[in-house]
């Protein structure tokens, strides 16, 4: 066994660093560093640069325009992007609907949608969750009734991240109301301009508008926008949820957060000494450091298995649980490190374009991010659900 990266992998890391240094726009980097929300245009500028470099479809196969990276390279790429304060690529197109279209879509769908994703012409959002069907996707209620060569869709989706910027929605709908729970579901691609679609913001407890409700009222969707067969939606959904989850631990983000925390606690003072020397605080930082070390090796183990062709199964639940706990703990320590200053809240600076004095700006995001990170143990299958998966599939309970 050997845990060091090969010379090729190290060269790749250097290449990524160089690209980031040369290309990431300074204003975007600064917004990410300060924890401010990105504007739609910020995402587009960055994703266009990645697209031009051929790196946007990081996990796409070469034949569809991907760079042909393996999991180790994707891991390195994610890590360096987080370290450089690059924006996270909006995943709904490139990482979520694209693999589904590649796997289940018709050649026409592939030829039409995939290039539009890769050059950022379409901004996708997801219609999975519904009110009343949180981690229990199979009980969804949005109905699609066939009417000639269209489906007429009625229902409501929720937790639609960045839906306010999207022009395309992929959507699970019930096409057969009598079939057993998971059998009657189909997977539709919906143009957000279609009449009958309303997007309503949800403000989260950190004061942010990141997610939305999407109401569908007699929305007519061409039958050719269905991916896979009618009733095969659950297969698509499961594929999407289990596909490519080696990055689920959020390791790059955790590493960056720990670096930031150590730097912050190294110069914030407590009784004339760096806070990092206060034993009770230092102890928690050390524990986080150890947890990160362990999580990184675990992540590499899962990646190594994936590189060998094995799809990471329930192990990704492990990464999800421990990764989210670690990132939440880091957000907690960062907030605490700021002491009394953490209570001030500047939503207009964080979420809109208002300026703020530098001294305030540097610490403005900590508490909001602490609250925002609560979502990590809830979305994508709450940690309680993940534990149920491990109990069932790994432990056979």
């Amino acid at each position: 066994m050997n845990l060091t990266f090969s010379p090729e992998e190290q060269a790749f890391r250097a290449e990524v660093c160089q690209f980031l240094a040369d290309n990431l726009p300074e204003d975007i980097r600064e917004r990410v560093r300060l924890g401010r929300h990105l504007r739609a245009d910020d995402y587009l500028r960055w994703q266009t640069l990645l697209s031009e470099q051929g790196w946007l479809g990081a996990n796409w196969p070469v034949e569809h325009g991907g760079p042909g990276w393996g999991p180790v390279q994707r891991h390195i790429f994610d890590e360096e992007c987080a370290a450089a304060h690059a924006p996270t690529v909006v995943p709904f197109g490139v990482n979520m609907v694209a693999p589904v279209i590649m796997k289940f879509g018709t050649p026409e769908q592939q030829a039409y949608y995939l290039p539009r994703i890769l050059d950022n012409r379409d901004w996708w959002c997801q219609g999975y969750s519904e009110p009343g069907a949180g981690s229990d996707l199979a009980s969804l209620n949005t109905r699609a009734v066939r009417d000639g060569d269209h489906y007429v869709v009625n229902g409501q989706k929720t937790w639609t991240t960045l839906g306010q910027h999207a022009n395309m929605l992929f959507c699970l709908v019930r096409t057969d109301p009598v079939a057993k729970k998971q059998a009657g579901i189909s997977f539709l691609l919906i143009d957000m301009q279609t009449p009958g679609i309303t997007v309503r913001p949800i403000v989260t407890l950190d004061g942010a508008h990141e997610v939305n409700e999407v109401f569908l009222d007699n929305v007519r969707v061409p039958v050719e926008n269905r991916v896979g067969e009618e009733g095969q939606g659950w297969t698509c959904a499961k594929f999407l949820l289990t596909h490519e989850r080696t990055g689920i631990a959020g390791l790059g983000h955790a590493k960056q957060a720990l670096r930031h925390l150590k730097s912050l606690a190294g110069h914030v003072e407590h009784r004339g000494r760096p806070l990092l020397e206060l034993p009770s605080f230092r102890q928690r930082v050390v524990k986080a450091e150890l947890e990160l070390m362990a999580l990184e090796v675990t992540n590499l183990r899962v990646i190594a298995a994936a590189r060998g062709g094995g799809a990471p199964g329930a192990e990704s639940s492990l990464l999800k649980v421990r990764g989210s706990e670690l990132r939440q703990e880091l957000s907690e320590l960062t907030r605490r490190a700021l002491g009394p200053a953490a209570v001030a809240f500047f939503p207009d600076f964080l979420y809109r374009d208002e300026p703020l004095d530098a001294a305030y700006a540097e610490r403005a995001a900590a508490s909001a991010q602490y609250f925002n990170r609560r979502k990590l143990s809830i979305y994508g299958g709450a940690n309680e659900i993940q534990k149920g998966i491990v109990a069932k599939t790994i432990l056979g309970m």
Binding site: S135, T204, L205, S280, A344, R374
Partner: protein, 372 residues
């Protein structure tokens, strides 16, 4: 040993509970926060009419002489409803310190109207660079030709925008900490106000060679009075947090009983039951610590400060546990502003940042850990 409330205390609790239920529903609270009116609210006027503004002050200072238990009852009720009134930061803290340090004229000018609800005050005891240490102030006060000159800054001054006058601590040439009355409109004073993460008004105060007349000096050695005031404030904050923890637990329990997943109520899932029980255990243990703090205010200073620090540290950690679990058990709903529990979670998390966090207070306990 006696945990019973007096008849008066039971009445106080009932009155307040009814008042909060009537006047601070989640909707009323939201409306008030979205359109803050200048000046005292009608609820504050009701507080004044009920004598609540007199309660925490000694009879000698014109108050009703309420003790730690009375204060606990009031703050707990306010915490339960997350009442958006600056009872602690605009009344109890600055008022107590004023009562402890002011002479008759100063009390007549500033304390009496406070108790009548005619104005509110603020206390500037913090500077960001000092974290939670009330002594390590860099704001300076120098006496020259019968006047005081103050320079420096005070951060996180709660209720700053609504205060007729702010009590400000500053280092004197003697090395001691002095206390000054700084009216809003004094030349050289700038204030930058904002809301806190838990929707309370606050602000930072910059003092550039601010000149104050002699009668604006409340004390040239305020350490002991400030310690006493902060101890009272910490005990009161713990009580307020207990009220908020109760509500967060109640709301979470109600949600688990009502909300179904996979066809059955969440409350039937054993893992969630045990989590809910853990929240309850944290609440009850914290309640014990809040009682300990409230009943320790009349003890000798060292013992008072030890027990209050222990309580604040303990409640700070429990508050976080309960807030985080309340969000988690509400699932995605708990992440939304529409869900009332979100406001409680924000307060319970921020609670730890007020008047010293659990690290700060644990250090106090740790430094004084007895051998036996």
């Amino acid at each position: 040993m006696d945990f019973a409330l007096t008849d008066e205390q039971r009445m106080l609790e009932e009155t307040l509970t009814r008042l909060v239920a009537d006047r601070v529903s989640p909707e009323q609270r939201r409306t008030r926060l979205q359109a803050p009116s200048p000046g005292a609210s009608s609820l504050w006027q009701t507080f004044a009419e009920l004598g609540l503004l007199h309660m925490p002050f000694s009879e000698e200072a014109g108050g009703l002489g309420g003790d730690g238990t009375d204060l606990m009852i009031i703050l707990q009720a306010l915490g339960r409803g997350l009442v958006p009134e600056p009872y602690l930061f605009g009344l109890v803290l600055p008022g107590t310190l004023l009562a402890l340090t002011g002479d008759d004229a100063q009390r007549a000018r500033w304390l009496a109207p406070l108790l009548e609800g005619e104005h509110q005050l603020a206390l500037g005891w913090q500077e960001t660079a000092a974290r939670y240490d009330a002594q390590a102030m860099t704001t300076q006060a120098r006496q020259k030709e019968g006047q005081w000159h103050l320079s420096g800054r005070k951060d996180l001054v709660m209720n700053l925008g609504a205060a007729a006058v702010t009590l400000v601590t500053a280092k004197l040439e003697s090395g001691k900490l002095g206390l000054f009355l700084v009216p809003v409109a004094t030349p050289g004073v700038r204030s930058f106000t904002y809301q806190t993460m838990d929707e309370q008004p606050a602000g930072d105060l910059t003092l550039e060679n601010v000149t104050l007349a002699q009668e604006h000096c409340l004390s040239e050695d305020v350490e002991s009075a400030l310690d006493e005031t902060l101890a009272i404030g910490r005990a009161a904050l713990c009580a307020q947090a207990i009220g908020a923890m109760e509500s967060a637990c109640d709301q979470t329990l109600a949600y688990l009983k009502e909300r179904k997943q996979f066809g059955v109520p969440l409350a039937t899932f054993q893992a969630l039951q045990h989590r809910m029980v853990d929240m309850h255990l944290h609440l009850e243990q914290s309640r014990s610590m809040a009682i300990l703090a409230a009943t320790s205010l009349t003890l000798a200073n060292d013992e008072r400060d030890y027990k209050v620090a222990a309580a604040k540290a303990y409640c700070g950690e429990s508050a976080r546990f309960i807030a985080e679990q309340a969000i988690q058990l509400h699932g995605a709903m708990g992440m939304t502003n529409e869900c009332h529990v979100a406001a409680y979670a924000r307060h319970l998390i921020m609670f730890d940042h007020y008047l010293g966090d659990s690290d700060y207070h644990l250090e106090h306990v740790s430094d004084r850990l007895s051998a036996a």
